[in-house]
C-alpha cells in the first residue's frame, strides 16, 4: 500500500489518506475552512419509541444487538471515569463473543484500566482506535501491532470530527452515574458520580444509536440532564459503571518534588511580574503536579494582592475547589473533574459549571472560550527551538500520551509550558521535536528550572520582563544548556510504517507517529 505523502505547513511529511479515507495536510493555524453543512444523526421518529418513555433493556449485550452492532462499526465511549471505567472493556468483550470484527473504537480518551482491550485488538474484533493512546495501549500501538492506523485528536478536535462528519459514530455507549428509563443522564449524582458527562455530549447528539448504561436508575426525570433522553435509544441498568476513586490518578496530587515546586514557583513569579495576575483574570490549571502547584501559588499571590480571578478552567480538583470556596475565583468552568472534591463541588455549587468541548474548544462553533483564558499552563514531552511542542510521544519515539485539551488550550492568551530542562538525561528542549502536536506560534513561554524562554513573537512580554531577576534566556540558550549537561542524544530510528496520525484542531494532519525501527509487527 503506498499512500502519497505531502509536506504540510509545519514541514512534516503526512499521508493524504488514513485508514482508506482521504486526509488533509495541516495548512496553518485557522487556515482550513471547507464549506459544508454539519453532519447530523439520522432523523428519528418518536413513534418508534415506547410511548411510556421506558427504553430499558436487560443487558448491554441486548442493547448492542438491538442497536445493530456489526462488522466495521464505530463505537464511542467517554473517559470521565478516567482510570475507573468499567464499561468500555465490556463492550468489546461482548462484540468478540458475538463474532463482530473490524470495529473502530472512538473513546474520548483511553486509560490503563482498558488494557484488556489489547485482546480484541489482537484478535481482529477492533481494527484500530481513534482517540488518545496512552499507557499499555500506546505501548501496543508503538510496536506497530494495531491493524489500522491510530488517529489522535484533541478534545475539541474530537467534537469537530463528529460535527463535520469526519467520524460517523454508529453506536455511542455512555456510562452514566445517574439516568432515568427515558435516557436522561448526569454525572453528578449516584454512587459512581464522576462529575459531568461533557465528553459524551457530541456522541449523544450525533451517533446513530445511543445506549446509556447506569448503576443508578431513577424515575423520570433525572435532573440535571446533561445528556438528554431525547437523543437516547436504549437504557441499561448494571451493577456498577465505574469506580470514582480511580478518577484520582497520581497526576492529580500536588507535587512534593523540589524541582517541580521550583519550576512552579518560577512560573507564578513570571506571571506576576509580567502583569498577568490582575483582578478579573482567568487561568487554566490542568492535571499534573506542577500545574496544581502553580494554581496554589496563584492563590497565594491573589490573597496577597487582594484580587480575584473571574474564572478558572478545570479539570477541577480539591485545590481549585478550595479557591472557589474561599472566594478567590468567581466560577470554575469545568471540562472534567479530577477528584472527589471536584465532583462534590460541581453537584453542590452553582458557580462550578459543567462545560463540554463545544463551549470550550469547538472549531465549528462561532467562537469558543479557550481564547478568553489569560493564563494557560500546559505540559510537553519536548519543545523545540521554534517553540513547537510534543505531547504524544517520548523522545525515543514511543507513543505514550493523548492530546487531551492541550491543542485547544493553545489558543489562550498566554500559553506557558513549565517543563524540566531534561528528564533522565533526555533534553526536553531540542532542535526538532519528535512529533509536532502544537505549532510554536501559539506557545509563548517555556519555564525550566534553569531559565525561562519567551517566544520572540511576544515582544510585549520580552519588554515587560527585561529588568526581571528571573533567569530569562533564549530558547537556543536553553537547548544548548540541556545538551551541555546531557550530551547530544542520538536520533531514534523509525521504520516507514505510520502507526498513528496526529490531527490538528481543524481535522487536518499536523504530524504522524511512525513505528520504531527494529520492532517486529
Amino acid at each position: 500500500m503506498s499512500v502519497e505523502m505531502v509536506k504540510n505547513a509545519v514541514g512534516r511529511l503526512v499521508p493524504t489518506e488514513i485508514n482508506g479515507k482521504p486526509a488533509v495536510p495541516f495548512k496553518g493555524v485557522g487556515k482550513y475552512k471547507p464549506e459544508a453543512r454539519k453532519h447530523a444523526a439520522k432523523i428519528a421518529f418518536c413513534a418508534d419509541f415506547p410511548i411510556d418513555g421506558n427504553k430499558q433493556v436487560e443487558t448491554l449485550q441486548e442493547a448492542l444487538i438491538k442497536a445493530g452492532l456489526r462488522d466495521g462499526m464505530t463505537i464511542s465511549s467517554h473517559h470521565h471515569f478516567r482510570n475507573g471505567d468499567l464499561i468500555a472493556v465490556q463492550i468489546f468483550k461482548i462484540a468478540q463473543e458475538l463474532g463482530v470484527k473490524n470495529l473502530v473504537w472512538f473513546p474520548s480518551a483511553a486509560f490503563p484500566c482498558q488494557e484488556a482491550i489489547i485482546e480484541q485488538l489482537e484478535n481482529g474484533t477492533i481494527h484500530h482506535i481513534e482517540g488518545s493512546l496512552n499507557g499499555p495501549l500506546g505501548e501496543f500501538a508503538s510496536q506497530g501491532k494495531m491493524s489500522g492506523t491510530g488517529v489522535l485528536r484533541s478534545h475539541g478536535g474530537r467534537y469537530q470530527a463528529v460535527q463535520d462528519g469526519e467520524v460517523e459514530i454508529d453506536i455511542a455507549v455512555i456510562a452514566a452515574p445517574t439516568a432515568d428509563p427515558f435516557g436522561n443522564a448526569n454525572g453528578v449524582n449516584g454512587p459512581s458520580a464522576c462529575g459531568l458527562l461533557g465528553f459524551a455530549l457530541a456522541d449523544s447528539e450525533y451517533a446513530d444509536k445511543v445506549i446509556v448504561v447506569t448503576d443508578n436508575l431513577v424515575p423520570f426525570p433525572c435532573l440535571p440532564w446533561q445528556i438528554q433522553g431525547n437523543n437516547v435509544d436504549y437504557v441499561v441498568e448494571v451493577e456498577q459503571v465505574g469506580i470514582p476513586e480511580r478518577i484520582v490518578s497520581g497526576t492529580t496530587k500536588i507535587t512534593k518534588s523540589p524541582d517541580r515546586l521550583h519550576i512552579a514557583e518560577m512560573t507564578a513569579q513570571f506571571c506576576e511580574e509580567a502583569g498577568l495576575i490582575k483582578d478579573g483574570f482567568s487561568f487554566q490549571a490542568g492535571a499534573g503536579g506542577t500545574s496544581l502547584s502553580i494554581g496554589n501559588f496563584f492563590g497565594d499571590i491573589m490573597r496577597r494582592k487582594g484580587i480575584k480571578a473571574r474564572f478558572a478552567r478545570g479539570g477541577s480538583n480539591k485545590y481549585l475547589v478550595e479557591m472557589l470556596e474561599e472566594g478567590l475565583i468567581d466560577y470554575i468552568l469545568d471540562g472534567q473533574t479530577f477528584d472527589m472534591d471536584g465532583i462534590r463541588s460541581m453537584r453542590e455549587n452553582p458557580n462550578h459549571v459543567n462545560t463540554s468541548p463545544f463551549t470550550s474548544y469547538n472549531y465549528h462553533g462561532k467562537g469558543n472560550f479557550a481564547g478568553l483564558i489569560d493564563i494557560v499552563i500546559l505540559g510537553a514531552t519536548e519543545v523545540d527551538v521554534n517553540f513547537n511542542a510534543n505531547v504524544v510521544t517520548h523522545s525515543d519515539g514511543k507513543l505514550l500520551h493523548g492530546i487531551g485539551g492541550w491543542q485547544n488550550c493553545l489558543f489562550g492568551k498566554n500559553v506557558i509550558l513549565p517543563v524540566p530542562l531534561f528528564r533522565n538525561r533526555i533534553p526536553v528542549i531540542c532542535d526538532e521535536v519528535t512529533t509536532i502536536c502544537g505549532p510554536g506560534e501559539l506557545i509563548d513561554i517555556i519555564v525550566t528550572e534553569r531559565g525561562i524562554a519567551i517566544n520572540p513573537r511576544r515582544t510585549d512580554l520580552i519588554e515587560q520582563m527585561k529588568d526581571s531577576n528571573l533567569p530569562i534566556k533564549t530558547i537556543v540558550e536553553l537547548k544548548e544548556e540541556a545538551e551541555r549537561i546531557c550530551g547530544t542524544p542520538d536520533k531514534p530510528k523509525f521504520s516507514e510504517e505510520i502507526i498513528s496520525a496526529v490531527k490538528w484542531v481543524d481535522g487536518t494532519v499536523i504530524d504522524v507517529v511512525k513505528k520504531i525501527a527494529g520492532v517486529a509487527k
Binding site: 521550583h262 525515543d396 533522565n424 542520538d490 530510528k493
Partner: protein, 404 residues
C-alpha cells in the same frame, strides 16, 4: 583480590544513576552489556564511555553489565571506575574535563547563610541542586553514606565536583570524621573544592593534621585555590575547645551540630533549645572573637516553615550568620529571615551613604553627624545592604534617590 565487583544503585525509586557488575576474565576481550532507560538515544554513547574507562585502566578482558536509569557521563564513569578499583590496585584516575565555571575561588567572608546538604552517593539530587540559590552546597561523605559505600561515594563526589554546575554556590564537601576523613582528602582537594566541613571536630590538633594533608596534596597536584575549613562542633569537648579550633589556619566558620551535641550531653533536643543555649552562645561568641562566621545546626522538619522561621530569627538574634538545610524549600525562609530587618537596613544605609560621601570627597575618615565610623562598622553595614538587596528588600540602586 576478588574477580567480581558491584557498584551503584538500581531498583524502585532510583533514577539518574546506574548499577554496575564487573567481572575480570582471562581471554574473550571486553563483553559489555548495557540495559538503559535511554537506550535508543544514548545506548551507543554509554557503551563507548565504558570502553574508554576500561581502556584507561588497561582492562582487556572483562564482563561488564550496566543497568542505567539515565545517568550522566560523570556518574557512569564514577560507577565503572569504582567497580574497577575494587578489583585492581591502581593509582590512576579516570577524570572527565572539569567545567570552567567550577574552578572559581571563594572569599573567606562570603555569605554563608544557607548550605544545602546532599548525600554524596545519590547523583540525582546533585543535578539540580545549584538552581535553588543556596549560598553553599555540601556533598556529604559522612552520615548520609553507608559504610560499605564510602569508597564509591568518594569517587562520585570527586566527579560531581568537576562536572556538575552549582551556578555559583560555594562548593563544599563534608568529609568523614577524623581520622577517616584524612583519606577522603585525596579525592577532594585536587578537584576545586572551596570548603571542607570537618564533622565532630574536637581539637586544633585534628585540624592541624588535616591542613598538613591538604598542603601536601595541594603542592603535589598544583592546587592554587584556597580551601576553607568549617569545623562542626558536635560534642561537649568540641564546644569547650571552640576557641583553639576557631583560631586554626584556614577556618572561616564554626558550625554546630545539635543532634550529636544533645546526644553527647544525654539530653533531649527541644524546639525551645534551652539545652543547647550555652553551646550556641559560646560558639557565636568565640566565632566573633576569632573574626569568623558562626553557623547554626540544620532544622530537620522540612514541612514546618513557620517553626523554621522562628528558629532562624532566634538564631540570628544569638549571633549566627547562617544554618544548614536539608531541603531546598528551606533556603528561601532562611535567607529571608537572616536578612536584616527594616531598622537595620535604615542604619546601614546611613553608614554606607556616609562612606560614599567620604570617598567622593577624598576623606579618609567616615563620619555620621559628629560620630566617627570605624571601618569594621562600615564593612558590616555594606554586608547588611548586600543581604537586603539579595532578598529583594532593597533596590540595588537605592542611593539614586536616597535622602539622608
Amino acid at each position: 583480590m576478588s574477580r567480581k565487583s558491584t557498584t551503584g544503585n538500581r531498583g524502585k525509586g532510583v533514577s539518574s544513576d546506574c548499577y554496575v557488575e564487573l567481572e575480570l576474565t582471562s581471554g574473550q576481550g571486553l563483553q559489555i552489556e548495557v540495559k538503559s532507560k535511554v537506550q535508543a538515544l544514548f545506548g551507543r554513547q554509554i557503551i563507548a564511555l565504558c570502553e574508554q574507562v576500561l581502556g584507561h585502566f588497561e582492562i582487556k578482558n572483562a564482563n561488564l553489565y550496566l543497568e542505567d536509569t539515565g545517568a550522566l557521563d560523570h556518574v557512569l564513569a564514577a560507577r565503572v571506575e569504582a567497580a574497577i578499583k575494587q578489583l585492581i590496585d591502581t593509582d590512576k584516575e579516570f577524570l572527565l574535563d572539569v567545567l570552567p565555571q567550577n574552578q572559581h575561588k571563594t572569599e573567606k567572608n562570603k555569605s554563608r547563610r544557607s548550605r544545602l546538604y546532599l548525600p554524596g552517593n545519590t547523583p540525582k539530587i546533585a543535578l539540580n541542586a545549584g538552581v535553588y540559590g543556596a549560598d553553599g552546597i555540601i556533598l556529604d561523605l559522612e552520615d548520609s553514606v553507608a559504610p560499605a559505600k564510602k569508597f564509591e561515594a568518594a569517587i562520585m563526589v570527586r566527579n560531581t565536583l568537576r562536572s556538575v554546575d552549582f551556578y555559583g554556590a560555594e562548593r563544599m564537601v563534608r568529609i568523614n570524621q577524623f581520622p577517616q576523613g584524612l583519606d577522603d582528602l585525596e579525592f577532594i582537594v585536587p578537584h576545586f573544592v572551596n570548603l571542607l566541613l570537618v564533622p565532630k571536630c574536637e581539637s586544633a590538633e585534628q585540624l592541624e593534621q588535616i591542613n598538613v594533608r591538604i598542603k601536601e596534596i595541594s603542592n603535589r597536584c598544583g592546587v592554587k585555590n584556597p580551601i576553607h575549613l568549617m569545623p562542626i562542633l558536635e560534642s561537649a569537648k568540641g564546644v569547650l575547645n571552640a576557641l583553639e579550633i576557631a583560631s586554626s589556619e584556614n577556618v572561616v566558620a564554626l558550625a554546630i551540630g545539635l543532634e550529636d551535641y544533645t546526644a553527647d550531653l544525654g539530653v533531649q533536643r527541644t524546639d525551645a533549645g534551652t539545652e543547647s543555649f550555652f553551646a550556641r552562645t559560646q560558639l557565636a561568641n568565640v566565632a566573633t572573637a576569632a573574626g569568623i562566621q558562626a553557623i547554626d545546626s540544620v532544622f530537620s522538619d522540612v514541612s514546618d516553615m513557620e517553626l523554621l522561621k522562628k528558629v532562624v530569627l532566634e538564631s540570628k538574634m544569638l549571633g549566627f550568620n547562617g544554618m544548614g538545610c536539608i531541603h531546598p524549600r528551606q533556603i528561601k525562609v532562611i535567607h529571608e529571615n537572616y536578612a536584616p530587618n527594616d531598622s537595620e537596613i535604615e542604619t546601614a544605609k546611613k553608614i554606607v551613604n556616609a562612606f560614599h560621601i567620604a570617598s567622593e570627597k577624598g576623606l579618609g575618615v567616615v563620619s555620621l553627624g559628629t560620630k566617627m565610623i570605624d571601618p569594621p562598622v562600615v564593612k558590616r553595614a555594606q554586608t547588611t545592604i548586600e543581604m537586603a538587596i539579595d532578598v529583594g528588600k532593597l533596590n540595588s540602586n537605592w542611593r539614586d534617590d536616597y535622602v539622608s
